[in-house]
Amino acid sequence: MEEARLRREINAVVIGASAGGVQALSVLLPALPANSAAALFIVVHLPRDRPSLLAEIFARKCLLDVREAQDKEPVVPGTVYFAPSNYHLLLDEGPQLALSVDPLVHNSRPSIDVLFESAAEVYRNRLLGIILTGANEDGAEGLAAVHDSGGITVIQEPETAQSPQMVMSALRLRPPDHVLALDRIAALLSTLGTAGPMLQRP
Protein backbone atom coordinates (compact mmCIF):
# COMPACT_ATOMS: atom_id res chain seq x y z
CA MET A 1 0.00 0.00 0.00
CA GLU A 2 2.83 2.30 0.98
CA GLU A 3 4.56 1.34 -2.25
CA ALA A 4 1.47 2.26 -4.29
CA ARG A 5 1.29 5.65 -2.64
CA LEU A 6 4.85 6.46 -3.55
CA ARG A 7 4.64 5.24 -7.11
CA ARG A 8 2.49 7.12 -9.51
CA GLU A 9 2.02 7.88 -13.17
CA ILE A 10 3.71 10.98 -14.53
CA ASN A 11 1.60 12.88 -17.09
CA ALA A 12 3.90 15.81 -17.61
CA VAL A 13 7.52 16.87 -17.33
CA VAL A 14 8.73 20.45 -17.01
CA ILE A 15 12.35 21.27 -17.72
CA GLY A 16 14.15 24.56 -17.12
CA ALA A 17 17.61 25.46 -18.37
CA SER A 18 19.72 28.50 -19.09
CA ALA A 19 23.43 28.78 -19.94
CA GLY A 20 24.57 25.39 -21.28
CA GLY A 21 20.99 24.22 -21.58
CA VAL A 22 21.00 23.33 -25.26
CA GLN A 23 23.92 20.91 -24.80
CA ALA A 24 22.28 19.37 -21.72
CA LEU A 25 19.00 18.88 -23.59
CA SER A 26 20.92 17.24 -26.43
CA VAL A 27 21.79 14.49 -23.96
CA LEU A 28 18.32 14.24 -22.43
CA LEU A 29 15.72 14.56 -25.17
CA PRO A 30 16.99 11.83 -27.52
CA ALA A 31 16.53 9.43 -24.58
CA LEU A 32 12.75 9.89 -24.59
CA PRO A 33 11.02 6.71 -25.79
CA ALA A 34 8.74 6.90 -28.81
CA ASN A 35 5.84 5.54 -26.76
CA SER A 36 6.08 8.20 -24.05
CA ALA A 37 2.65 9.09 -22.73
CA ALA A 38 3.89 12.19 -20.93
CA ALA A 39 3.94 15.71 -22.39
CA LEU A 40 7.11 17.76 -21.88
CA PHE A 41 7.28 21.54 -21.49
CA ILE A 42 10.64 23.23 -21.74
CA VAL A 43 11.92 26.73 -21.03
CA VAL A 44 15.43 27.64 -22.12
CA HIS A 45 16.64 31.21 -21.59
CA LEU A 46 17.61 32.71 -24.93
CA PRO A 47 17.95 36.23 -26.36
CA ARG A 48 14.50 37.81 -26.53
CA ASP A 49 14.97 39.73 -29.77
CA ARG A 50 15.11 36.79 -32.15
CA PRO A 51 12.98 33.70 -32.77
CA SER A 52 13.81 30.47 -30.96
CA LEU A 53 15.04 27.66 -33.20
CA LEU A 54 14.89 25.03 -30.45
CA ALA A 55 11.83 23.21 -31.77
CA GLU A 56 13.46 22.81 -35.19
CA ILE A 57 16.79 21.74 -33.71
CA PHE A 58 15.33 19.11 -31.41
CA ALA A 59 12.71 17.80 -33.83
CA ARG A 60 15.59 16.14 -35.62
CA LYS A 61 17.01 14.61 -32.45
CA CYS A 62 13.81 13.28 -30.87
CA LEU A 63 11.54 10.32 -31.39
CA LEU A 64 8.64 12.44 -30.14
CA ASP A 65 6.79 15.26 -31.85
CA VAL A 66 8.57 18.55 -31.01
CA ARG A 67 6.83 21.92 -31.37
CA GLU A 68 6.98 25.52 -30.35
CA ALA A 69 4.06 26.21 -28.01
CA GLN A 70 1.03 28.05 -29.39
CA ASP A 71 -1.50 29.86 -27.26
CA LYS A 72 -4.65 27.82 -26.41
CA GLU A 73 -3.20 24.66 -27.92
CA PRO A 74 -4.58 21.52 -26.22
CA VAL A 75 -1.80 19.41 -24.71
CA VAL A 76 -1.14 16.23 -26.67
CA PRO A 77 0.57 13.43 -24.68
CA GLY A 78 3.90 12.37 -26.09
CA THR A 79 4.75 15.84 -27.37
CA VAL A 80 7.66 18.13 -26.49
CA TYR A 81 6.73 21.83 -26.31
CA PHE A 82 9.28 24.64 -26.25
CA ALA A 83 8.40 28.13 -25.00
CA PRO A 84 8.67 30.72 -27.79
CA SER A 85 11.16 33.54 -27.48
CA ASN A 86 9.96 36.57 -25.47
CA TYR A 87 6.76 34.90 -24.15
CA HIS A 88 6.08 33.20 -20.84
CA LEU A 89 4.71 29.68 -21.28
CA LEU A 90 2.06 28.53 -18.81
CA LEU A 91 -0.18 25.50 -18.37
CA ASP A 92 -3.87 26.18 -18.04
CA GLU A 93 -6.91 24.03 -17.24
CA GLY A 94 -7.74 21.54 -19.96
CA PRO A 95 -4.84 21.04 -19.94
CA GLN A 96 -3.94 23.54 -22.60
CA LEU A 97 -1.02 25.83 -23.29
CA ALA A 98 -1.13 29.54 -22.53
CA LEU A 99 1.30 32.32 -23.37
CA SER A 100 1.76 35.71 -21.74
CA VAL A 101 3.79 38.86 -22.21
CA ASP A 102 3.72 39.69 -18.50
CA PRO A 103 6.82 41.38 -17.07
CA LEU A 104 10.16 39.57 -16.99
CA VAL A 105 10.74 37.24 -14.02
CA HIS A 106 14.37 36.95 -12.89
CA ASN A 107 15.16 39.08 -15.91
CA SER A 108 13.77 36.34 -18.12
CA ARG A 109 10.87 35.79 -20.49
CA PRO A 110 10.13 32.93 -20.80
CA SER A 111 10.65 32.26 -17.11
CA ILE A 112 11.11 28.81 -15.62
CA ASP A 113 9.28 29.82 -12.42
CA VAL A 114 6.19 30.88 -14.39
CA LEU A 115 6.06 27.57 -16.30
CA PHE A 116 6.72 25.37 -13.26
CA GLU A 117 4.28 27.13 -10.94
CA SER A 118 1.42 26.97 -13.43
CA ALA A 119 2.21 23.34 -14.34
CA ALA A 120 2.24 22.43 -10.64
CA GLU A 121 -1.30 23.77 -10.26
CA VAL A 122 -2.58 21.81 -13.25
CA TYR A 123 -0.71 18.50 -12.86
CA ARG A 124 -0.18 18.41 -9.07
CA ASN A 125 1.45 15.07 -8.12
CA ARG A 126 1.55 13.79 -11.72
CA LEU A 127 4.35 16.21 -12.60
CA LEU A 128 8.10 15.75 -12.83
CA GLY A 129 10.19 18.95 -12.61
CA ILE A 130 13.81 19.13 -13.72
CA ILE A 131 16.26 22.01 -13.27
CA LEU A 132 19.40 21.96 -15.40
CA THR A 133 22.49 24.10 -15.86
CA GLY A 134 22.12 27.88 -15.79
CA ALA A 135 23.63 31.12 -14.56
CA ASN A 136 20.75 32.78 -12.75
CA GLU A 137 18.16 32.05 -10.06
CA ASP A 138 15.10 31.38 -12.17
CA GLY A 139 13.47 28.01 -11.51
CA ALA A 140 14.19 27.62 -7.80
CA GLU A 141 10.77 28.84 -6.68
CA GLY A 142 9.08 26.98 -9.52
CA LEU A 143 10.68 23.70 -8.53
CA ALA A 144 9.68 24.31 -4.91
CA ALA A 145 6.08 24.74 -6.14
CA VAL A 146 6.31 21.42 -8.01
CA HIS A 147 7.53 19.78 -4.81
CA ASP A 148 4.87 21.42 -2.64
CA SER A 149 2.12 20.23 -4.99
CA GLY A 150 3.32 16.66 -4.63
CA GLY A 151 5.30 16.42 -7.86
CA ILE A 152 8.71 14.81 -8.19
CA THR A 153 11.75 17.08 -8.40
CA VAL A 154 15.13 16.49 -9.99
CA ILE A 155 18.16 18.76 -10.03
CA GLN A 156 21.23 18.27 -12.19
CA GLU A 157 24.38 17.58 -10.14
CA PRO A 158 26.08 20.96 -9.76
CA GLU A 159 29.49 19.44 -10.54
CA THR A 160 28.20 18.32 -13.94
CA ALA A 161 26.41 21.59 -14.78
CA GLN A 162 28.15 23.95 -17.18
CA SER A 163 26.89 26.84 -14.99
CA PRO A 164 25.99 25.68 -11.49
CA GLN A 165 24.22 28.80 -10.16
CA MET A 166 20.70 27.81 -11.13
CA VAL A 167 20.89 24.30 -9.73
CA MET A 168 22.55 25.62 -6.55
CA SER A 169 19.71 28.13 -6.02
CA ALA A 170 17.14 25.38 -6.47
CA LEU A 171 19.06 23.07 -4.10
CA ARG A 172 19.20 25.72 -1.40
CA LEU A 173 15.50 26.57 -1.55
CA ARG A 174 14.04 23.06 -1.31
CA PRO A 175 15.87 19.73 -1.14
CA PRO A 176 14.84 17.83 -4.31
CA ASP A 177 13.87 14.19 -4.59
CA HIS A 178 16.89 13.42 -6.76
CA VAL A 179 20.21 15.09 -7.57
CA LEU A 180 21.50 13.36 -10.68
CA ALA A 181 24.13 13.58 -13.40
CA LEU A 182 22.80 14.15 -16.92
CA ASP A 183 23.11 10.51 -18.00
CA ARG A 184 21.08 9.44 -14.95
CA ILE A 185 18.39 12.01 -15.79
CA ALA A 186 18.38 10.65 -19.35
CA ALA A 187 17.89 7.15 -17.92
CA LEU A 188 14.98 8.44 -15.85
CA LEU A 189 13.34 10.01 -18.89
CA SER A 190 13.79 6.80 -20.86
CA THR A 191 11.34 5.14 -18.43
CA LEU A 192 8.55 7.50 -19.48
CA GLY A 193 7.05 4.86 -21.77
CA THR A 194 3.35 4.06 -21.78
CA ALA A 195 3.81 1.19 -19.34
CA GLY A 196 5.63 3.38 -16.87
CA PRO A 197 6.76 5.57 -15.54
CA MET A 198 7.08 4.43 -12.02
CA LEU A 199 9.19 7.03 -10.37
CA GLN A 200 9.70 6.91 -6.68
CA ARG A 201 9.70 9.75 -4.32
CA PRO A 202 12.11 8.73 -1.58
Binding site: D71, Y87, L99, D102, N125
Partner: protein, 281 residues
Amino acid sequence: MSVGEAARGREFDIEFRLLIDAIYHMYHYDFRGYASASLRRRMKTAMERFGCPTLSQLQDRVVHEPQVFAALLDYLTVQVSEMFRDPTYFRALREHVVPLLRTYPSLKVWVAGCSAGEEAYSIAILLREERLLSRTLIYATDINPQVLSKAEAGIYDIDRIAGFTLNHRGSGAISSLSDYYIAAYGRAVFDKSLRDHIVFSDHSLATDSVFAEVQLVSCRNVLIYFNRELQNRALGLFHDSLCRQGFLGIGAKETLKFSTQAGGFDSLVHQEKIYQKRSEP
Protein backbone atom coordinates in the same frame (compact mmCIF):
# COMPACT_ATOMS: atom_id res chain seq x y z
CA MET B 1 0.97 15.79 -1.81
CA SER B 2 -0.01 16.62 1.73
CA VAL B 3 -3.63 17.04 2.68
CA GLY B 4 -2.82 20.63 3.62
CA GLU B 5 -1.44 21.42 0.18
CA ALA B 6 -4.48 20.00 -1.57
CA ALA B 7 -6.78 21.99 0.68
CA ARG B 8 -4.83 25.19 0.07
CA GLY B 9 -5.12 24.65 -3.70
CA ARG B 10 -8.87 24.17 -3.37
CA GLU B 11 -9.25 27.19 -1.11
CA PHE B 12 -7.39 29.35 -3.60
CA ASP B 13 -9.67 28.16 -6.43
CA ILE B 14 -12.78 29.07 -4.46
CA GLU B 15 -11.45 32.42 -3.25
CA PHE B 16 -10.32 33.22 -6.78
CA ARG B 17 -13.80 32.72 -8.21
CA LEU B 18 -15.39 34.69 -5.39
CA LEU B 19 -13.04 37.63 -5.93
CA ILE B 20 -13.69 37.68 -9.68
CA ASP B 21 -17.44 37.68 -8.98
CA ALA B 22 -17.07 40.41 -6.35
CA ILE B 23 -15.17 42.62 -8.80
CA TYR B 24 -17.86 42.07 -11.42
CA HIS B 25 -20.75 42.92 -9.11
CA MET B 26 -19.01 45.81 -7.41
CA TYR B 27 -17.18 47.50 -10.27
CA HIS B 28 -18.66 45.92 -13.45
CA TYR B 29 -15.28 44.72 -14.68
CA ASP B 30 -15.70 41.23 -16.08
CA PHE B 31 -12.66 38.99 -15.65
CA ARG B 32 -14.73 35.81 -15.67
CA GLY B 33 -13.61 35.02 -19.22
CA TYR B 34 -9.90 35.60 -18.64
CA ALA B 35 -7.45 32.74 -19.06
CA SER B 36 -6.99 31.47 -15.57
CA ALA B 37 -3.25 30.67 -15.47
CA SER B 38 -2.07 34.23 -16.13
CA LEU B 39 -4.81 35.82 -14.04
CA ARG B 40 -4.01 33.59 -11.06
CA ARG B 41 -0.37 34.51 -11.32
CA ARG B 42 -1.24 38.22 -11.46
CA MET B 43 -3.51 37.81 -8.43
CA LYS B 44 -0.65 36.22 -6.50
CA THR B 45 1.61 39.14 -7.38
CA ALA B 46 -1.10 41.52 -6.18
CA MET B 47 -1.52 39.59 -2.91
CA GLU B 48 2.18 40.12 -2.19
CA ARG B 49 2.01 43.78 -3.16
CA PHE B 50 -0.98 44.48 -0.93
CA GLY B 51 0.36 42.33 1.90
CA CYS B 52 -2.67 40.02 1.86
CA PRO B 53 -1.87 36.41 2.78
CA THR B 54 -5.18 35.18 1.34
CA LEU B 55 -7.37 36.20 -1.58
CA SER B 56 -10.27 36.61 0.86
CA GLN B 57 -8.35 39.35 2.62
CA LEU B 58 -7.61 40.99 -0.71
CA GLN B 59 -11.31 40.72 -1.56
CA ASP B 60 -12.24 42.47 1.68
CA ARG B 61 -10.03 45.41 0.76
CA VAL B 62 -11.13 45.47 -2.89
CA VAL B 63 -14.80 45.59 -1.91
CA HIS B 64 -14.44 48.24 0.76
CA GLU B 65 -11.65 50.42 -0.65
CA PRO B 66 -12.20 51.57 -4.26
CA GLN B 67 -8.63 52.87 -4.45
CA VAL B 68 -7.37 49.32 -3.79
CA PHE B 69 -9.46 48.13 -6.71
CA ALA B 70 -7.99 50.85 -8.92
CA ALA B 71 -4.51 49.70 -7.98
CA LEU B 72 -5.43 46.02 -8.43
CA LEU B 73 -6.76 46.79 -11.91
CA ASP B 74 -3.23 47.75 -12.91
CA TYR B 75 -1.95 44.34 -11.82
CA LEU B 76 -4.74 42.53 -13.62
CA THR B 77 -4.61 44.36 -16.94
CA VAL B 78 -1.44 46.24 -17.72
CA GLN B 79 0.73 44.87 -20.48
CA VAL B 80 4.12 46.35 -21.00
CA SER B 81 4.41 46.88 -24.73
CA GLU B 82 6.89 48.64 -26.97
CA MET B 83 6.56 50.90 -29.95
CA PHE B 84 6.85 48.89 -33.17
CA ARG B 85 7.03 45.66 -31.15
CA ASP B 86 7.81 42.84 -33.63
CA PRO B 87 9.05 45.18 -36.41
CA THR B 88 8.32 42.60 -39.09
CA TYR B 89 4.60 42.92 -38.29
CA PHE B 90 4.72 46.61 -39.18
CA ARG B 91 6.79 45.89 -42.26
CA ALA B 92 4.09 43.44 -43.38
CA LEU B 93 1.38 46.07 -42.73
CA ARG B 94 3.32 48.47 -44.93
CA GLU B 95 3.84 45.97 -47.73
CA HIS B 96 0.56 44.07 -47.76
CA VAL B 97 -2.09 46.19 -46.07
CA VAL B 98 -1.21 49.84 -46.75
CA PRO B 99 -1.55 49.52 -50.57
CA LEU B 100 -5.15 48.39 -50.07
CA LEU B 101 -5.85 51.00 -47.39
CA ARG B 102 -4.88 53.65 -49.94
CA THR B 103 -7.96 52.79 -51.98
CA TYR B 104 -10.30 54.11 -49.24
CA PRO B 105 -11.22 57.82 -49.16
CA SER B 106 -11.24 57.74 -45.35
CA LEU B 107 -9.89 55.22 -42.90
CA LYS B 108 -10.71 53.94 -39.46
CA VAL B 109 -8.40 51.73 -37.42
CA TRP B 110 -9.15 50.02 -34.12
CA VAL B 111 -6.31 49.25 -31.71
CA ALA B 112 -8.05 46.99 -29.17
CA GLY B 113 -6.42 46.64 -25.75
CA CYS B 114 -4.13 49.61 -26.37
CA SER B 115 -2.63 49.73 -22.85
CA ALA B 116 -0.30 52.78 -22.61
CA GLY B 117 -0.66 53.63 -26.30
CA GLU B 118 2.58 52.31 -27.81
CA GLU B 119 0.81 50.37 -30.57
CA ALA B 120 -1.59 53.21 -31.41
CA TYR B 121 1.25 55.73 -31.80
CA SER B 122 3.25 53.22 -33.84
CA ILE B 123 0.39 52.80 -36.29
CA ALA B 124 -0.14 56.57 -36.41
CA ILE B 125 3.53 57.11 -37.25
CA LEU B 126 3.46 54.37 -39.89
CA LEU B 127 0.36 55.91 -41.49
CA ARG B 128 1.92 59.37 -41.46
CA GLU B 129 4.99 57.98 -43.20
CA GLU B 130 2.70 56.43 -45.77
CA ARG B 131 0.81 59.74 -46.12
CA LEU B 132 -2.43 58.22 -44.93
CA LEU B 133 -2.76 59.64 -41.44
CA SER B 134 -4.52 62.83 -42.53
CA ARG B 135 -7.54 60.80 -43.59
CA THR B 136 -7.41 58.33 -40.69
CA LEU B 137 -9.09 58.06 -37.32
CA ILE B 138 -7.60 55.54 -34.89
CA TYR B 139 -9.75 54.22 -32.06
CA ALA B 140 -7.50 53.03 -29.22
CA THR B 141 -9.45 51.23 -26.52
CA ASP B 142 -8.73 49.65 -23.17
CA ILE B 143 -10.63 48.81 -19.98
CA ASN B 144 -8.19 50.53 -17.64
CA PRO B 145 -8.84 54.29 -17.31
CA GLN B 146 -5.41 54.88 -15.78
CA VAL B 147 -3.50 53.50 -18.75
CA LEU B 148 -5.82 55.34 -21.12
CA SER B 149 -4.86 58.67 -19.59
CA LYS B 150 -1.20 57.65 -19.83
CA ALA B 151 -1.75 56.72 -23.45
CA GLU B 152 -3.47 60.02 -24.12
CA ALA B 153 -0.48 61.91 -22.68
CA GLY B 154 1.86 60.12 -25.10
CA ILE B 155 4.84 60.46 -22.78
CA TYR B 156 7.39 57.65 -22.38
CA ASP B 157 10.59 57.26 -20.39
CA ILE B 158 13.53 58.32 -22.49
CA ASP B 159 15.39 55.09 -21.71
CA ARG B 160 12.76 53.19 -23.70
CA ILE B 161 13.35 55.28 -26.82
CA ALA B 162 16.50 53.47 -27.98
CA GLY B 163 14.54 50.20 -28.19
CA PHE B 164 11.60 51.92 -29.89
CA THR B 165 13.99 53.48 -32.43
CA LEU B 166 15.58 50.14 -33.30
CA ASN B 167 12.14 48.59 -33.73
CA HIS B 168 10.99 51.51 -35.86
CA ARG B 169 13.96 51.12 -38.19
CA GLY B 170 13.22 47.40 -38.53
CA SER B 171 9.68 48.24 -39.61
CA GLY B 172 10.86 49.69 -42.92
CA ALA B 173 10.78 53.25 -41.60
CA ILE B 174 11.02 56.08 -44.09
CA SER B 175 11.58 58.74 -41.44
CA SER B 176 13.37 59.00 -38.11
CA LEU B 177 11.46 58.30 -34.90
CA SER B 178 12.99 61.46 -33.45
CA ASP B 179 10.84 63.45 -35.90
CA TYR B 180 7.85 62.54 -33.76
CA TYR B 181 8.85 63.38 -30.19
CA ILE B 182 10.56 66.04 -28.10
CA ALA B 183 12.93 64.86 -25.39
CA ALA B 184 12.81 66.75 -22.10
CA TYR B 185 13.54 65.95 -18.47
CA GLY B 186 14.19 62.26 -19.08
CA ARG B 187 11.01 61.79 -21.04
CA ALA B 188 9.94 61.73 -24.66
CA VAL B 189 6.76 63.63 -25.43
CA PHE B 190 5.12 62.46 -28.64
CA ASP B 191 3.83 64.94 -31.19
CA LYS B 192 0.32 66.20 -30.52
CA SER B 193 -0.45 66.08 -34.24
CA LEU B 194 -0.36 62.26 -33.98
CA ARG B 195 -2.75 62.30 -31.06
CA ASP B 196 -5.18 64.45 -33.06
CA HIS B 197 -5.89 61.34 -35.11
CA ILE B 198 -6.35 59.00 -32.14
CA VAL B 199 -9.43 58.67 -29.96
CA PHE B 200 -8.59 56.95 -26.68
CA SER B 201 -11.66 55.34 -25.23
CA ASP B 202 -12.92 52.98 -22.56
CA HIS B 203 -14.17 49.77 -24.16
CA SER B 204 -14.40 46.21 -22.89
CA LEU B 205 -14.09 43.27 -25.26
CA ALA B 206 -15.89 41.23 -22.58
CA THR B 207 -19.01 43.37 -22.13
CA ASP B 208 -19.24 46.12 -24.80
CA SER B 209 -20.28 45.87 -28.42
CA VAL B 210 -19.29 47.11 -31.88
CA PHE B 211 -19.01 50.91 -32.15
CA ALA B 212 -17.68 51.67 -35.64
CA GLU B 213 -16.91 50.22 -39.02
CA VAL B 214 -13.15 49.97 -39.47
CA GLN B 215 -10.71 48.88 -42.18
CA LEU B 216 -8.05 47.51 -39.80
CA VAL B 217 -8.14 45.99 -36.33
CA SER B 218 -4.82 45.52 -34.54
CA CYS B 219 -5.11 43.52 -31.35
CA ARG B 220 -1.84 41.92 -30.42
CA ASN B 221 -1.08 39.93 -27.28
CA VAL B 222 -4.47 40.67 -25.80
CA LEU B 223 -6.33 37.50 -26.81
CA ILE B 224 -3.74 35.36 -24.99
CA TYR B 225 -5.20 36.67 -21.74
CA PHE B 226 -8.73 35.50 -22.64
CA ASN B 227 -10.22 32.02 -22.44
CA ARG B 228 -11.62 30.52 -25.63
CA GLU B 229 -15.16 31.79 -25.07
CA LEU B 230 -14.08 35.36 -24.53
CA GLN B 231 -11.60 35.08 -27.38
CA ASN B 232 -14.48 34.01 -29.64
CA ARG B 233 -16.52 36.98 -28.44
CA ALA B 234 -13.70 39.44 -29.12
CA LEU B 235 -13.00 37.98 -32.56
CA GLY B 236 -16.72 38.19 -33.30
CA LEU B 237 -16.63 41.91 -32.45
CA PHE B 238 -13.64 42.39 -34.74
CA HIS B 239 -15.38 40.52 -37.54
CA ASP B 240 -18.53 42.61 -37.17
CA SER B 241 -16.53 45.85 -37.01
CA LEU B 242 -14.47 45.19 -40.10
CA CYS B 243 -15.62 46.44 -43.44
CA ARG B 244 -15.78 44.04 -46.38
CA GLN B 245 -12.28 42.52 -46.78
CA GLY B 246 -11.01 44.47 -43.78
CA PHE B 247 -7.78 43.47 -42.03
CA LEU B 248 -7.05 41.92 -38.64
CA GLY B 249 -3.60 41.70 -37.02
CA ILE B 250 -3.04 39.54 -33.92
CA GLY B 251 0.06 38.64 -31.89
CA ALA B 252 2.90 36.62 -33.39
CA LYS B 253 2.17 33.57 -31.23
CA GLU B 254 -1.59 33.88 -31.24
CA THR B 255 -3.71 31.86 -33.63
CA LEU B 256 -7.29 31.76 -34.87
CA LYS B 257 -6.93 28.00 -35.27
CA PHE B 258 -8.70 27.11 -32.02
CA SER B 259 -11.47 29.70 -32.39
CA THR B 260 -15.03 29.27 -33.65
CA GLN B 261 -14.46 32.51 -35.59
CA ALA B 262 -11.62 31.07 -37.67
CA GLY B 263 -13.93 30.57 -40.67
CA GLY B 264 -14.63 34.31 -40.86
CA PHE B 265 -11.07 35.18 -41.83
CA ASP B 266 -8.49 34.27 -44.47
CA SER B 267 -4.80 34.36 -43.71
CA LEU B 268 -3.13 37.22 -45.60
CA VAL B 269 0.42 37.24 -44.17
CA HIS B 270 0.73 33.92 -42.37
CA GLN B 271 4.04 34.58 -40.62
CA GLU B 272 2.88 37.92 -39.16
CA LYS B 273 -0.64 36.74 -38.26
CA ILE B 274 -2.37 39.26 -40.50
CA TYR B 275 -5.82 38.15 -41.64
CA GLN B 276 -8.43 39.48 -44.01
CA LYS B 277 -12.17 39.26 -43.43
CA ARG B 278 -13.54 36.55 -45.69
CA SER B 279 -15.91 37.83 -48.35
CA GLU B 280 -19.50 36.73 -47.96
CA PRO B 281 -20.30 33.87 -50.36
